[in-house]
Symmetry: C2
Subunit: 513 residues, 2 copies
């Protein structure tokens, strides 16, 4: 279905069929392969036991009064003065067991519903870089125009399943009202699942209200199932900050999912050993998950892995490294042990959309697939360890994501596929281009890339010798030029707009946290 958009009108579909890129249709890839498991059951148990000892003996800081109250009531050992909570393993495992193994999230367009968990693998746009970059304008602070551009790419590509965090920070909007304009853009330029940053009560409540309005939902309908989600990071080592906990608890109370992703860079905020960093990652993640299960038993959560290593010379984070790959795969083993969905990332530390960016991303994606990650953050557009949202990298990543989606399709092996008759027909002196067996199948036989250039050197040179980023540059420009937003009931759009205006008049959210 070249260029077709969910909900697109017939006229668009026709117009785009010839001009926009050919892309795969919307679908949720199913990762049916056995995962790669670097460590055995005994080693896995040693990391689990380490995590339990951290929770029991060392404790985690919960810098949030309400969280402390809830955990104290649940019987945890809470030191109010230091905000340190110790919880025993029986309690933690009991709470974690209440979380579902899988769940769905339904955005305003129900056709974009996603399943989180099991074999499903979801790709999320790049989230949260402060800078945007493209070949024409270079690296610059993110603004609302770049934010909207990257949202359009997020919406356009069927291989991007969620409109996660801000694809770039729109720094030209005042922080007090940024979330209002940003959510408005997200909910009008995309119809995919959106995310709310846990940055204080007003922002989180505004986001939930806007998602409810955009879906045309009553409050009861909003709470009846997951409609959006948040992702919180611990402040490693061993600390959950106030706004993250506040937002997570607000979403949990209304049945909305929370991904908990500790920021355990080995050698910096966590031990230099992967086993130690993963024990700490697990302790920090399960501590918050246990809290949320106390708040609302059964609320959907996911175990987030971000463990990687740092360059020990400079302290700079590294991604897509051998350590990142193994940490992600072992995180998969841990997630399955706790029966929780796994979040990981398509990460790299390159400063340009070049070969290093591509191999670090490919290695990250290899790790995500072989770990059976359910949610792949930063799947399209990340550069410079998350400090750059790159237009060209976005397009390049989507090429890789599509290839992985195709890779996950089963390989048919019927007798007709084994093709003895065709082999006999062609014989030892022919070729298969004209064979009946080929003619019946060639259009859909192979994955067709939109970005790779497979021509020979002479043809490629004659047409300008364009390298990958130049070709990606041409593609994003075409997509943006042709973009039309997904349909939205004008009354709903008006209600969203009115909400934004009212909340702006009220001053938005405080900016002094």
């Amino acid at each position: 279905m070249p260029g077709r958009r969910s909900g697109g009108r017939a006229g668009n579909a026709r117009r785009l069929a010839g001009s926009a890129i050919r892309q795969l249709p919307w679908r949720i890839p199913q990762n049916r392969d056995r995962p790669t498991e670097p460590i055995d059951a005994e080693a896995l148990h040693r990391i689990h036991d380490g995590a339990m000892r951290i929770l029991e003996e060392i404790g985690i800081l919960f810098l949030n009064e309400e969280a402390l109250r809830v955990l104290a009531e649940a019987g945890c050992d809470v030191d109010r003065e230091s905000a340190r909570v110790r919880m025993d393993r029986g309690f933690v495992m009991e709470q974690v067991a209440k979380a579902p193994e899988s769940f769905t999230i339904t955005p305003r367009n129900p056709a974009r519903e996603v399943a989180v968990g099991g074999d499903a693998m979801l790709f999320v746009n790049v989230s949260s870089p402060p800078n945007a970059m493209d070949l024409d304008r270079g690296r610059r602070p993110g603004d609302r125009a770049a934010f909207q551009d990257l949202l359009k790419l997020t919406q356009y590509f069927n291989c991007v399943h969620l409109a996660g965090g801000y694809p770039v920070e729109p720094t030209d909007i005042h922080p007090s009202v940024r979330h209002l304009d940003a959510l408005y853009d997200k909910l009008t330029l995309t119809d995919k699942v959106v995310h709310a940053y846990s940055l204080g009560p007003e922002r989180v409540e505004d986001a939930m209200e806007m998602v409810r309005i955009a879906g045309g939902l009553s409050h009861a309908e909003f709470e009846a199932r997951p409609r959006m989600y948040t992702n919180i990071n611990s402040s490693s080592p061993l600390k959950h900050d106030w706004p993250m906990l506040d937002g997570a608890m607000r979403l949990a109370r209304r049945g909305q999912p929370v991904i908990v992703t500790p920021f355990t860079l080995a050698g910096a905020m966590a031990p230099v050993t992967l086993a130690g960093a993963l024990a700490q990652q697990t302790a920090e993640a399960l501590a918050a998950i246990a809290l949320l299960q106390c708040i609302r038993p059964g609320v959907p959560v996911a175990y987030g892995s971000f463990t990687s290593n740092v360059d020990m010379k400079s302290g700079a984070p590294a991604f897509g490294t051998p350590e990142y790959m193994r940490a992600t795969q072992i995180s998969g083993q841990l997630a399955r042990f706790y029966k929780l969905p796994l979040r990981a990332s398509n990460a790299n530390a390159a400063n340009a959309p070049d070969a290093q960016a591509a191999w670090e991303s490919a290695f990250s994606l290899w790790a995500c697939v072989s770990a059976k990650a359910n949610v792949v953050y930063h799947a399209a557009g990340w550069l410079e360890g998350g400090l750059i949202a790159s237009y060209e990298k976005f397009v390049m990543d989507c090429e890789m994501l599509q290839q992985i989606m195709h890779y996950m399709e089963p390989v048919p092996c019927t007798d007709a596929d084994v093709a003895i008759e065709a082999i006999a027909e062609v014989g030892p002196r022919g070729h298969f281009f004209g064979a009946t067996h080929t003619q019946a199948r060639y259009e859909a036989a192979f994955y067709a890339p939109f970005l790779s250039d497979w021509r020979n050197y002479e043809s490629w040179s004659a047409s300008g010798a364009q390298q990958t980023p130049e070709r990606a540059n041409r593609i994003w420009k075409q997509i943006l030029a042709e973009f039309e937003p997904p349909p939205l009931d004008p009354a709903v759009e008006e209600e969203l707009r009115a909400f934004v205006e009212r909340r702006k008049r009220e001053g938005g959210a405080p900016t002094d946290f």
Copy 2:
């Protein structure tokens, strides 16, 4: 062991320690992970059954009188006129069962001995491109200078285990004597396992004789164990050509290993379905392997997979695609079924050492690792579907190969690695940079790349904003400038030189086949 070379003199080791890149020491990576197996036993058996039916019902052309004679004597159904051989599955499986599951190859420097099979994974330099390319001189026909440069890189990098085919074709040497100069360069500039092209009796016999001389071996010692190898390609569909069979039989007779790699591009020389292409690949490979086991029962062989797809618009071969990945993984299943070592490739179809080259290579390597390939051809330096040997890509590939070698090291998970004491010591308000646990481990904790640039954008820009190929360019120049060949007994070198001179005076090899 930065910059240390096997057999290097102490003076060199010292000098290089500071100036050459830091690289991993020589070692054979052990791939202990479970393979990815895309199809179930029933589907695997259907491909096997298809291969057997091709051999039994359709037959394979053996364009070589001696091969036909051997197979007729062994009881196969041989049609002398068409050169078509049909062999029943009982015969094929009986012959294949004689081949060893694993074997070693010992080059002139015994410290460079390699194991083929089991968990061992070997990387071979790029082989056979007609063109060389680098950033300074662009793409140009291969010559002896480029050939020698690329051999020096092959020798330098410890992650390249075999000096396989010609890293680029030295087209400035007359074809009648090219093999003599090329083998002389290979045996003097490297001390790793070398390969002989099966391009007529004279070339193969010369190559065996030169390997024997370089190793200081008697004829009996040469034949006592594998000292070199050849790789033959079928002329798909369903055909083995004369020179390939001749060379393979000559090596087999003297106990030297043969890799059999059909050239089954799906949609062109093989069915458009992967199952069909793999059935044909298997039939073509096993047909030659059965012949070689008749020639010398137990001779080491390997099952070569090269199945990929073509661009159905242009017919151009594609590599590192989803189809290539699955074909390679299923080839791994087939190789294990037949208890044969597997050869695959690090392939791509890009025209420049850019992002596409990197992701196609990374996906190819992912396929090789998850297939448990034992021999990875073209592991360093391949571009343009094998038409270009790229200096910069060679260096980039070695960075990827080193990362994969590090990835294959076990992840330690002792109690000391889980690091509860360090986590308690650092607590929630510190960081791990200065912790005792970190200090004791940080130097060897993580893989240190020689090519990746992990600095932040500002530092990277200030130092020239070099993208990956530019950095690779600087590195290969440094390596070539500092290169010293591995030690070789002057008497042996003189004997090699005399052999080359004598064979040149005799006219070398015929060029009219």
